[in-house]
Amino acid sequence: MSANSQNGNFPLTHYSVVLAAQSDDPAARSRAIEAITAAYWKPVYKYVRVKWNITSEDAADFTQDFFTRLLEKEFLDSYDSTKGRLRTFLRTCADRLFMKQVRDSHRLKRGAGSGHFPLNYVEAERELENVPNSESPEDRFEKEWVRSLFTLGLQRLRSCCESESKMIHFELFERYDLEDADPKPSYTQLAAEFGLAVTDVTNYLAFARREFRRCVLDQLREMTATGEEFRREAQALLGVEVR
């Protein structure tokens, strides 16, 4: 677990996928674009699907095309973190690309979403079924960004717990904090279910929550270029109005 994020402050040096994605090193750029794609493909897919009311096949093609262009340095070179948020930039790029494709009437057809990035469009399509109609595509994009970030944070947490032989911590967290069960299981019920003392349940959950917070913030750090941008994004993530 990284020490530099212990106090929630921005470390002096950190790996930023945004900076790496703008670098001239093809290998570093490729890895960075993969990380950006992992965080943003669902928000982009669902956004174009809902905003432009296109078919799932067209949305899948568009998503592949969009992130391939990112890899080809078509968009990201013009991104300046001091002028706006990455996710707003990407959403604007998606809008522009879509309008350009409509205008030029030559969408790149790669065949139902096949392409450089192995993305699970079936899963994204299933998730879209629960999207309320009242939400604007822009609001949905923001929500999907948060969901995507938390999902990646959870994947990190799972890896950490696996590597430290603390999967029971993760499973407890999953059972208590990640399920929509109503009513929630009590700590006593969880203790009986997992064969633990109630105090262990309390301690394990506290550990998992603390590590989850760290994993999400680490993930967010990587997705930002500067300390200031990180703080802005973290404040947005935490729902704190930036003054």
Binding site: N7, L178, R213, L238
Partner: protein, 332 residues
């Protein structure tokens, strides 16, 4: 991994903000308030088995300067031991790196709630009690700079507490700290102008003195709090913030209006110079004596004297009337 539902995402977002109290004697109960850079949490002191309030910086607050300021705020509060100022029990850094301090949890009402059913004399006596801790702090060189009804709490036993010293400043006569500005995490309300740092506008419109609103920190001294105290009296008497459309000011006694106006004079030299001067004038009003802020006319003086000595005047008048009647009857 299964998709996180909207409700789970909302819950995780809330969870992200909960301070990590691992290794401390406290456990979180719930959030009480939040501001631009921090939040206040109700917590339980697991050793003493009592409820306390924790003021905690946000995870992503801009690093060390705010942490130092929060500590300074805690030190100011710790140095101001007065029944009208919330006591600080503890301060430090949490496991997640956030600075915090622990203070007494006040269960009570805000000023607005408390005065809803109070009569004029009760309101005036309450203002006297608000002024006491201010006078105490001013005498030690501290200026609150954000006095407003939301920052006055009335405890369960009727104790009056001046809260939220987050914008407090050490005046020229006060203790010298590392910085002269101690702006720090606060609990902003919708109307608050909250910018931290030296040379910025701090305070709340309507309750902020003109010199404070002008951002002239060198001009601001303890008399900026006198202005706010006048604005609070105005609020208590009218239910409105000064500057808003007047509601029922016509029924406000002229001496009290004059007290408000003197406290809120644009020129600090024209205000009461100390909180105690203002409360002395209020005390005079309560006892029926002439107030310094209001030069009354002959009729008003007569009316006031009549109100103050009504019983004696009525008895004397009745006696004189009877004497006159008696003399007239005798002459017949």
């Amino acid at each position: 991994m299964k998709q996180l539902s909207d409700s789970v995402v909302a819950k995780l977002r809330a969870e992200m903000q909960v301070p990590d109290l691992d290794g401390t004697r406290y456990s979180v109960v719930r959030q009480l308030a939040r501001g631009g850079m921090g939040s206040v949490w109700l917590a339980e002191d697991t050793v003493l088995k009592r409820r306390v309030a924790l003021k905690v910086l946000d995870l992503v607050a801009p690093a060390d300067d705010l942490a130092a300021r929060l500590l300074q705020e805690a030190r100011i509060l710790a140095g101001l031991e007065h029944p009208g100022i919330v006591p600080v029990h503890d301060a430090g850094t949490l496991a997640d790196g956030r600075a915090f301090y622990c203070m007494k949890y006040i269960e009570g009402q805000t000023l607005a709630q408390h005065i809803a059913r109070k009569g004029l004399p009760d309101k005036l006596r309450l203002l006297e009690r608000i002024a006491e801790p201010l006078d105490f702090a001013h005498a030690r060189g501290f200026i609150h700079r954000d006095l407003k009804p939301e920052n006055i709490m009335i405890g369960a036993f009727g104790e009056v507490l001046v809260m939220d010293w987050g914008l407090a400043k050490v005046g020229a006569t006060g203790l010298k700290l590392a910085e002269n500005e101690i702006a720090t995490v606060v609990r902003p309300t919708q109307n608050s102008l909250r910018v931290t740092g030296q040379g910025s506008v701090l305070g709340t419109p309507g309750y902020m003195s003109p010199e404070q609103a002008r951002d002239s920190t060198t001009e601001v001294d303890h008399r900026t709090d006198i202005f706010s105290l006048g604005a609070i009296l105005w609020f208590m008497l009218t239910g409105t913030t000064p500057g808003e459309l007047p509601a029922g000011t016509g029924s406000m006694p002229r001496p009290l209006r004059a007290i408000c106006e003197r406290a809120m004079a644009a020129d600090p030299n024209a205000r009461y110079q100390f909180a105690g001067e203002m409360t002395a004038d209020i005390g005079r009003y309560l006892s029926g004596a002439p107030v310094l802020a209001y030069p009354e006319g002959l009729l008003e003086r007569a009316g006031r004297l009549y109100t103050r000595h009504r019983t004696a005047i009525v008895l004397v008048a009745a006696y004189l009337l009877m004497r006159v009647l008696f003399i007239m009857l005798e002459r017949r």
